[in-house]
Symmetry: C2
Subunit: 412 residues, 2 copies
Amino acid sequence: MRDVAVVGAAMTRFGKYLDRSLKDLTREAVQAALDSAGMDKSLPQVAVVGNAAAGLSTGQECIRAQVVLREMGIEEIPMINTENACASSSTAFHLAWLYVASGMYDVALAVGMEKIYQQDKARMFAAFSAGVDVELVQQIIASLQADLAKKEKEGAPGGEGGGAGKSRSMFMDIYAAGARAHMRKYGTTKEQFAKVAVKNHFFGSLNPHAQYRERYTLEEILNSPLVAEPLTRLMCAPTGDGASAAILVSAEKARQYTTKPVWVRGSALGSGKDMKPGMPGITARVARKAFEMAGMGPEDMDVIEVHDATAPAEIFIYEDLGLCPEGEGGRLIDEGVTELGGRVPVNTSGGLLSKGHPVGATGVAQIYEIFLQLRDEAGERQVQGAKVGLCENGGGMVRGEAAATSVHILSL
Amino acid sequence: MRDVAVVGAAMTRFGKYLDRSLKDLTREAVQAALDSAGMDKSLPQVAVVGNAAAGLSTGQECIRAQVVLREMGIEEIPMINTENACASSSTAFHLAWLYVASGMYDVALAVGMEKIYQQDKARMFAAFSAGVDVELVQQIIASLQADLAKKEKEGAPGGEGGGAGKSRSMFMDIYAAGARAHMRKYGTTKEQFAKVAVKNHFFGSLNPHAQYRERYTLEEILNSPLVAEPLTRLMCAPTGDGASAAILVSAEKARQYTTKPVWVRGSALGSGKDMKPGMPGITARVARKAFEMAGMGPEDMDVIEVHDATAPAEIFIYEDLGLCPEGEGGRLIDEGVTELGGRVPVNTSGGLLSKGHPVGATGVAQIYEIFLQLRDEAGERQVQGAKVGLCENGGGMVRGEAAATSVHILSL
């Protein structure tokens, strides 16, 4: 396999864009990624596009990439439409990497895109619900609709202010149950979870592409509306729209386009399995593969983006990635290890909690953050001297484990 | 890139299965493919699954592969969910090939699956319509629903008997317009189109996996209900459900599993572009890439499967593949070149016309037919001494060209 470098990356600001289409958002991200590489749109030889929910949210299935990319004059090249729920565009990035690493192509475009926010809330919830087994879907939709009806009756603000609140209760209930189990088993506290949210919202305030840019105190996080104990709304990722793109090239092409290539050292993807006690979970399994490919370990990482769909998830992922022993994730946040100035800052983009989580766009947006950090272009949230970074992105759920998880390791 | 062999392949019989689920159909095809390779289900290291319309037809998006494969105990490995409309599973096959050719994995599973036939016809038509630009979707659904209402009023049999009839009129209208243009420009006749249907329905009668196994005379084809001049219902592919699977392995593994490996010599994929007069169309462009990879030309092919969504399409594809000069496709069918005993039999499986066309399952089902033919396992429809075969599969439409087309070349 050949060396592969990222020479351009970009994203739209994540947000709730009732007036912007998937085409419009994707054009902005792809053009910005091409511009950041100094590359013409005629040069990518293959495009891999990740999207989770357009079929259900907009009615566009089958050829999502072609419909969007031809609109901006990218045509003729092979286009791969891929989805893996919340890990859709990290899957796209992995395939783009494979095309270049294999020697088949020298220039590949990886895209993440999502347009999910809309007036029709029932349709939006149906789209979310497709990340689990379809046989549960009707049940989930019914539960979400009941929640919505209740919330509307109560006059709640409806997912604004950093959290999707009750509108995603099914997934949030699963996260909450995991958080309570961690608290019981290891003594992790609700305050430690809240500290993750304080950190990520602080980072989001420094990121012009973040959906939410407000800073919050520990008390504000703890006192925001309860979603499911111990999760408050500000500990939950919001819904939104957005797009992200990256340009991957061979070593020879990299030298042609930039003096600051960011190399892909590991690209691993895995699926869930039936868990047995004591067995490593999907994130630990996939991270192990990525570290092995890169010939590195968790101690080599300088900056990390993880899938903090909720604040407790970030704590679990610290442990899965081997940043600390099992059960000690809470200590890591207490000691400031993962904040700006700490040993290994995590979610400097603001993470899903604050940057936002337009499902299919998240994976490549994580790559974009690490791309900026390693090139010393992350502005106020720059991790000084960062040379190696990691992205962890999980998606969907079947029988209690994520359906898909990817880990990418990038370095100077 | 390494040599890659197909060592197992299978499909369900295509049909209209109101009582079978996507899981059920896919389990049958995957297990049969594993059995044909003599391989345990724990051995594939990656699975790539093509499906076009489950999001809209069943509500399952995002993690279609995981939901279906975990049900049969395939788990943990990377799973790629991909779609490219009618070319979804040839795209999956292409990616599975790339995983093995690159050296990343030694054993890859490629799957095609579709469950589209259902009582709720409006939902079924909405799923079909996702293979074009979403901005046209509402318009198309309205047109299809109007057609259905008209047909039901007229008491027509509703897509039985080898053709989808008016239920797919939008796509059929485009094919019909292309057929009329070919007739005007080259003098191709309606009888020549009908002969393609006679040939493919004959082949279907010899294939136990074909949805329709009736033989028809030229007169019966010509006299079946008119869809759009010159297309009659028996010249149009039906709708249906089904699944298909193939096992791709490295050369070293191939020797371990079989004495009859079928090698992948070319794997090309392309997208549509804005056409200019005199420019080769997408099928010709992609075929050229595949022939170049294989170091072969059209004259080397012994048996071919093409995307005969309608009978005239097969004539156009003869020309695009270079089996004859432009405009002479009609002559080829007149001379019997593509029938059993001819120089290069085409669609020995029955093609989409007779074997059926469960959208996402079609691509790998074409691979299965060529796999059988090259291994001398095609029974009554065996092409004697076939050593090299080709599969052409097209999908979706954006601005008048197929959104995606793949060409695979396989050989002993």
